[in-house]
C-alpha cells in the first residue's frame, strides 16, 4: 500500500527532539561563528555538520525502526496555535542526503576558505561558513516543519543564505546574478505568502495536517494552491522561470555551487511535494498537474539543448540542473488524484530517486568542474584537453556523474528514469515517456561532448596546475554514491511511504 498523504500529528514522539536539534544546532554554530569573530571557524563548522549527520542518521534509523514518522511539538503548544515538526520517510531521506553533501562540500572547501594566519578573520571564510551553516539549518527546517508560515521563514532563510555564496567572488556578473536571484526569489515568496493568507483566512490554521483534515475544494483554497505553487515554481527555477539559476550557480565557488544545485533548489521542490501530496491531497487536478508536467518537459528539452550549446563548463552543468529539475515535476502528472496504487507508488519512488541521485551526481559534477577550472585556469569547454592527465580522478568523477545524469545503468539516475518511464507508460502518458527518453539522449550528448574534450590532448602551451588528490576523492565519492544507488531494486521503496496515508 503506497499512501501518498501525510498522517495527522498528535504528540511528540520519542527522539522527536532530534528534529529541533537538527535545525537549532547549526544556528547555534552560526551565532558562535559570528560572535567569536572567526576564531576556530572551521572547527565549529565541522563539528556542527558532523552533528547534523549524526542527527540525520539517528532520525532515519528511528523512522525506519518504528515505521512511523517522528514528531515534535515546539514549545509545548499543539497546532493550530503552536508549531510542530514532523519527519516522515522523505524528510529523513533528505536530511541524510543533505547532511552528507554538506560534509563533502565542507571537506572540499576546507582549504579554499581557511582562516588566513595572523589576521584573526577574513571576509570569504566567515561568509562562506556562515552561509553553509544557515543553509544546513534552513534545509532541515524545510524538510521537517509542518507549519506553512514556518516554512516561509525557512525558505527565506535558505535564499538569504544562498545569496552571499553566489556573490562571494565579487565580480560584476556574480553580483548581477545574485541580485537577479534575490529579486526573483522575493517575488516568488511574496506570492507564496499571499497563498498562506488565503489558507489562514479559509481554515484558521497554518498546520499542514490541520488544513488537510478540513480541506474543501472552495475557490479560496484553489486560488491559494495556485499562488503558493507558482511562488514555489519561481524558487525552484522550473523552466520558464529559470533566468536566475545558471549565472548564480555558475558564479558561485565550486563547493557553493555544488550545494546550491544539489540541495538548495530541492528545498522549494520538497515544499511543492508537501503541498500537493500532504496539504491538498484531493486537489491534484489532472489539468494543473499536466501543466506542471508540461513545464517540466519543456525544462528537460530546453535545458538540455541549451546545455549542449554552452561554451563554459559551469554554465553547462548549471543548465543541466535546469533540465534535471524538469524530471522531478513529472511525478505530479504521473500520480494525479485517483491514479492506481501501483503507478502512484512507482512514480513517487522514481521522483525521489531522481531527487537524491541528481543531488549526489550534480554535487560530484560541480566539484569536478571546479577542479577542472582550477587545473586549467579557465572553464572554456573547447580547450579542456589534458585534464585527464592532470586530474584523472576528477574526470572519472565527472564521468560517473554523467552516467547518472544520462540515466545509464548501473546508476541512481537510471533507476529513477526507469521508474518514471514505467509509471508514464503504464499510465498511458506516452508524451512524458518520450520526453524522459529524449532527455536521456540529450544528456548523453552534452555529457559525452565534455568527456571527449576532457580526454583530448592538452592545447599547446597550456599551463596546468596540479590539484590535491583529497579533493578529487571527495568529488569521486559523491559521484560513486550516485552510481551505487543503481544497485537498489527497481521496485517502490517502502521507506518513502512511511508516515503517509492515501
Amino acid at each position: 500500500m503506497m499512501p501518498l498523504q501525510a498522517l495527522a500529528v498528535t504528540e511528540t514522539t520519542p527522539g522527536g527532539s532530534l528534529l529541533v536539534l537538527g535545525i537549532v544546532m547549526p544556528a547555534v554554530a552560526l551565532v558562535a561563528l559570528i560572535g567569536l569573530g572567526g576564531r576556530g571557524a572551521r572547527a565549529i563548522v565541522i563539528a556542527a555538520l558532523l552533528f547534523q549527520l549524526y542527527v540525520a542518521v539517528r532520525v532515519a534509523l528511528l523512522v525506519a525502526g518504528t515505521q512511523s514518522p517522528l514528531a515534535y511539538v515546539v514549545g509545548g503548544f499543539h497546532p493550530p496555535l503552536g508549531i510542530t515538526l514532523r519527519a516522515d520517510g522523505i524528510s529523513a531521506l533528505m536530511m541524510v542526503v543533505s547532511a552528507a553533501i554538506f560534509l563533502a562540500a565542507a571537506g572540499f572547501a576546507w582549504k579554499d576558505f581557511a582562516q588566513p594566519g595572523g589576521k584573526p578573520e577574513a571576509r570569504a571564510p566567515l561568509i562562506f561558513w556562515s552561509a553553509m551553516l544557515a543553509m544546513a539549518s534552513a534545509l532541515n527546517l524545510l524538510f521537517t516543519s509542518s507549519d506553512l508560515f514556518n516554512l516561509y521563514v525557512g525558505i527565506e532563510l535558505l535564499t538569504f543564505a544562498a545569496i552571499p555564496v553566489t556573490a562571494i567572488k565579487g565580480g560584476a556578473d556574480t553580483l548581477r546574478a545574485a541580485l537577479r536571484y534575490l529579486l526573483f526569489a522575493v517575488f516568488g515568496s511574496m506570492l507564496y505568502l499571499f497563498g498562506i493568507v488565503l489558507l489562514y483566512g479559509a481554515y484558521g490554521t497554518l498546520d499542514i495536517s490541520g488544513i488537510a483534515a478540513q480541506l474543501q475544494p472552495n475557490a479560496a483554497t484553489l486560488a491559494a494552491a495556485g499562488f503558493v505553487t507558482v511562488g514555489l515554481l519561481a524558487k525552484t527555477a522550473l523552466f520558464p522561470f529559470h533566468l536566475w539559476l545558471p549565472p548564480a550557480h555558475a558564479g558561485a565557488p565550486a563547493a557553493g555551487s555544488a550545494v546550491l544545485s544539489a540541495l538548495v533548489v530541492k528545498g522549494s521542490l520538497f515544499l511543492l511535494m508537501r503541498l500537493w501530496f500532504d496539504t491538498f491531497p484531493t486537489l491534484r487536478e489532472p489539468a494543473d498537474m499536466q501543466l506542471l508536467a508540461l513545464s517540466g518537459a519543456l525544462a528537460v528539452i530546453v535545458g538540455s539543448v541549451t546545455a549542449l550549446r554552452q561554451q563554459r563548463l559551469k554554465l553547462l552543468v548549471a543548465y543541466s540542473t535546469v533540465a534535471q529539475i524538469g524530471y522531478m515535476f513529472f511525478v505530479f502528472s504521473l500520480a494525479p488524484k485517483g491514479t492506481g496504487e501501483a503507478i502512484a507508488a512507482t512514480a513517487w519512488t522514481g521522483a525521489w530517486l531522481q531527487v537524491v541521485a541528481h543531488a549526489f551526481a550534480k554535487a560530484g559534477m560541480f566539484l569536478a568542474a571546479g577542479l577542472a577550472a582550477e587545473v586549467l585556469g579557465h572553464d572554456r569547454i573547447r580547450d579542456l584537453g589534458g585534464l585527464s592527465r592532470r586530474a584523472p580522478l576528477a574526470v572519472l568523477a565527472f564521468a560517473l556523474s554523467g552516467l547518472s545524469l544520462m540515466g545509464l545503468p548501473p546508476s541512481g539516475g537510471f533507476n529513477a528514469k526507469f521508474m518514471l518511464l514505467v509509471a508514464a507508460l503504464a499510465g498511458g502518458q506516452w508524451v512524458w515517456g518520450a520526453v524522459i527518453i529524449a532527455g536521456g539522449v540529450l544528456a548523453g550528448a552534452y555529457v559525452f561532448g565534455v568527456l571527449a574534450r576532457m580526454m583530448a590532448e592538452p592545447a599547446a602551451g597550456a599551463s596546468l596546475q596540479a590539484v590535491g588528490r583529497g579533493r578529487q576523492w571527495i568529488a569521486l565519492g559523491l559521484s560513486a554514491v550516485a552510481v551505487l544507488m543503481g544497485l537498489l531494486p527497481l521496485e517502490p521503496v517502502a521507506f518513502l511511504a512511511i508516515g503517509r496515508a492515501l
Binding site: F184, F187, G188, L191, P217, A219, L222, A223, A225, G226, T229, V230, L233, A234, F239, P240, F241, L243, L283, E285, P286, A287, D288, L291, S295, I301, V302, V305, T306, L308, R309, A342, S388, P392, L396, L408, P409, P410, F414, F418, L421, V422, L425, A426, G433, A434, I437, A438, G440, V441, G444, A445, F448, A452, M455, A456, E457, L487, P489, L490
Partner: protein, 537 residues
C-alpha cells in the same frame, strides 16, 4: 560459471581503472591481448545446448545459451587477436592510455552483452559496447574523425533511447514478471503493445546493425579512425545489435507479419549494401557496405525465423555471424598490415576468405549459407538470398581490385600480418567444426553435389558479371552522389541545428527579467483559472 562471467566483464574494467596510475599504464597496454581471455572459458560450458542462468544482486541475471556462446567465442577470439596486434601497434605511440581506456571499456561491453540475461544489465552492457567507441574512432583527433565519432555516438544514443522505451514497454506489459528477458519476451506476443515493442526493437537494434535507412553512420565511422579499432568495431561490437534481436524477438511464436517485414528489411539492406559498395573508391567504405549487406542477411534470417516461428533461427544466425566476425575483422587487419607490395599468396588467401561472404564452396561462409538454406526456403526469398550472394561476389571482387592498387593511405606502422592470418584461419576452422553441432547433419553433407551447386552458381554468376563489367569498361552509372543513409544524416543534422538554434533563441528570450516575471504572472492566472474551471466541484 558465474566467476567466469564476472571475470570477463570486470577484468577489462579493472584494467581500465589501473590506467589511472601512470606507472601501470605501459603494463596494461601490453596486456590488452590478455583481457578477453576469461571469455574463452565460457562457450565450451554452454556447448551441450544447456542454458544456465545465474542471478546476482536480485535483478542482475546472466544466461549463456548456444547463440550467445557462438558469438561470444568468435568475438573473444577476434578481441584477443586484435588486442595483441593493438598492444604492438600502440608501443611508443602518443595517447596510449587514452586508446587503451576506450578499448577496454568497449571490450567489456561487447563481450558482456552476449551473456546479459536481464533487461537492466543488457542495457548497461549494450551502452558500454557502443558509447566508448567514440574514443576509438576519434582517436586521431582530426575534424572528419571527430564528426564520424559524433554521428556514431548520436546513432548509438538514439538507438539506446528506443531500446529503453521497448524494454520499459516489455516490463509494463508483463507486470508480475520482474526484469528477466526470457519471461518478458515470452509474454510479449500476448501483450497489447506487441507491434510497437517489436518496431522499437527493430529500429533500435537496426541502427546498430545498419538496416538500410538507418545505416548512414556505418560507412562514415568505419572509414575513420585507426584500422585496428575499425577491425574490432566492425567485427565484434556490431554483433551486439544481432544478439539484441536474437534475445528480444519472440522467435518461438510465429509472427508472419512482423517476421516478413524484418526479412524484407534485411534483404533490402543486403542488396542495397552490395550495390552501393560498388560505387565506393575507398576499400574501407567497401568493407563497410559489405558489413551492411552481411548484417542485413543475418537480420533477414532472423526475420524468416520469426515468420516461421522457428526458435532455432537465433542459433543459425549466430553461426553465420561467427564467420563474419572473424573474416571482417581479418580483412580490416589485412588492410592495416599492407606494406608497399602485396604478395600474391596474401591476395589468394584474402580472396578465398572474402568470397566466403558470397558462399564460395569449401569456405566457412558457405557452411553458414547452408545452415540457413532450409529457413530461407526455395521460393522468392531463397532467390533473393542468392541474388544477395551474387552482389556479395561482385563487391568482394571490387574490393580485391581496389586493395591490390598500391595502398592509398600507407599505414605508417603496419600491423603484423600474423593477426589477419590467424583471424581468417580461425574463422574457417570454427565454421567447419561447429557445423555439425549447429545443423545436426555431418560436415561432409556440405560436400554433396546438390549443396555444392546451390552455393557455386551465385559465385560463378557474380564472377562472370564482374568480368563482363570490367571488360566493357563501363563504370556503373554514377549513383546519386551520397547514398540514402548519408543524405538522411545530413537532413537530420540540418533540421536538428535549426530546431536547436530556435530553442536557444527562445531560451535567451525567456532569460530576460521582464519576460520571466510576465511569465510568472501569466502562470499564476493560468494555474488559478485551470484550478477553478477544472477544479473539483
Amino acid at each position: 560459471m558465474i566467476f567466469a562471467i564476472m571475470a570477463m566483464i570486470l577484468l577489462p574494467l579493472a584494467m581500465a581503472l589501473l590506467l589511472l596510475s601512470p606507472a601501470l599504464r605501459p603494463m596494461v597496454v601490453r596486456g590488452l591481448g590478455l583481457a578477453p581471455l576469461p571469455a574463452l572459458l565460457l562457450p565450451p560450458a554452454a556447448w551441450e545446448g544447456s542454458i544456465s542462468t545465474v542471478s546476482f544482486f536480485g535483478t542482475w541475471r546472466y544466461v549463456l545459451d548456444q547463440a550467445g556462446a557462438l558469438l561470444l567465442g568468435a568475438c573473444a577470439l577476434l578481441w584477443i587477436i586484435a588486442g595483441s596486434a593493438a598492444s604492438r601497434w600502440l608501443a611508443g605511440r602518443g595517447g596510449q592510455g587514452r586508446f587503451a581506456l576506450w578499448w577496454l571499456l568497449t571490450l567489456s561491453g561487447s563481450l558482456g552483452v552476449f551473456v546479459a540475461g536481464d533487461v537492466v544489465s543488457f542495457y548497461a552492457l549494450y551502452a558500454l559496447a557502443s558509447l566508448p567507441a567514440y574514443g576509438l574512432i576519434a582517436f586521431g583527433g582530426g575534424g572528419a574523425e571527430r564528426r564520424a565519432g559524433r554521428v556514431t555516438i548520436a546513432a548509438a544514443l538514439i538507438g539506446e533511447g528506443l531500446i529503453l522505451a521497448a524494454m520499459v514497454l516489455l516490463a509494463v506489459n508483463a507486470p508480475g514478471q520482474g526484469l528477466a528477458i526470457a519471461p518478458l519476451v515470452a509474454a510479449l506476443p500476448s501483450s497489447p503493445h506487441c507491434g510497437a515493442v517489436i518496431a522499437l526493437l527493430v529500429i533500435g537494434f537496426g541502427l546498430k546493425i545498419g538496416l538500410v535507412p538507418l545505416h548512414g553512420w556505418m560507412p562514415m565511422s568505419y572509414a575513420a579512425g585507426p584500422l585496428i579499432a575499425t577491425a574490432v568495431l566492425s567485427g565484434a561490437t556490431s554483433k551486439a545489435g544481432l544478439i539484441g534481436l536474437i534475445r528480444f524477438l519472440p522467435l518461438s511464436e510465429a509472427m508472419p507479419v512482423a517476421g516478413g517485414m524484418i526479412l524484407a528489411a534485411g534483404l533490402v539492406s543486403a542488396l542495397y549494401g552490395a550495390l552501393l559498395g560498388l560505387t565506393q573508391a575507398n576499400p574501407r567504405s567497401v568493407l563497410a557496405y559489405s558489413s551492411i549487406s552481411q548484417l542485413g542477411q543475418m537480420a533477414a534470417v532472423l526475420g524468416a525465423g520469426l515468420a516461421a516461428g522457428a526458435p532455432g533461427a537465433g542459433v543459425i544466425a549466430a553461426y553465420y555471424a561467427v564467420y563474419h566476425v572473424l573474416v571482417k575483422g581479418g580483412l580490416f587487419l589485412w588492410l592495416g598490415a599492407q606494406g608497399r607490395r602485396i604478395a600474391a599468396w596474401q591476395l589468394g588467401l584474402v580472396g578465398f576468405a572474402a568470397l566466403g561472404f558470397a558462399g564460395l564452396p569449401l569456405t566457412g561462409g558457405a557452411l553458414g549459407k547452408l545452415a540457413f538454406k532450409d529457413l530461407a526456403g526455395t521460393g522468392a526469398t531463397g532467390m533473393l538470398f542468392s541474388f544477395a550472394a551474387v552482389g556479395s561476389t561482385l563487391l568482394v571482387l571490387h574490393f580485391l581490385r581496389l586493395a591490390r592498387a598500391p595502398a592509398q593511405d600507407p599505414q605508417p606502422q603496419p600491423l603484423s600480418p600474423a593477426a589477419w592470418i590467424a583471424a581468417v584461419i580461425a574463422a574457417t576452422l570454427l565454421q567447419w567444426t561447429l557445423f555439425a553441432a549447429v545443423t545436426g547433419d555431418s560436415a561432409r553433407s556440405a560436400l554433396r553435389p546438390g549443396a555444392l551447386f546451390d552455393l557455386a552458381w551465385p559465385v560463378a554468376a557474380g564472377a562472370a558479371l564482374a568480368w563482363g563489367l570490367a571488360a566493357l569498361g563501363t563504370r556503373l552509372p554514377a549513383f546519386p552522389p551520397g547514398d540514402i543513409g548519408e543524405r538522411l544524416i545530413a537532413i537530420i543534422e540540418r533540421q536538428a541545428t535549426r530546431i536547436a538554434s530556435a530553442i536557444l533563441r527562445a531560451e535567451t528570450q525567456a532569460h530576460q527579467w521582464q519576460v520571466s516575471t510576465l511569465a510568472l504572472a501569466a502562470a499564476l492566472i493560468l494555474f488559478v483559472a485551470l484550478q477553478t474551471v477544472f477544479g473539483p466541484r
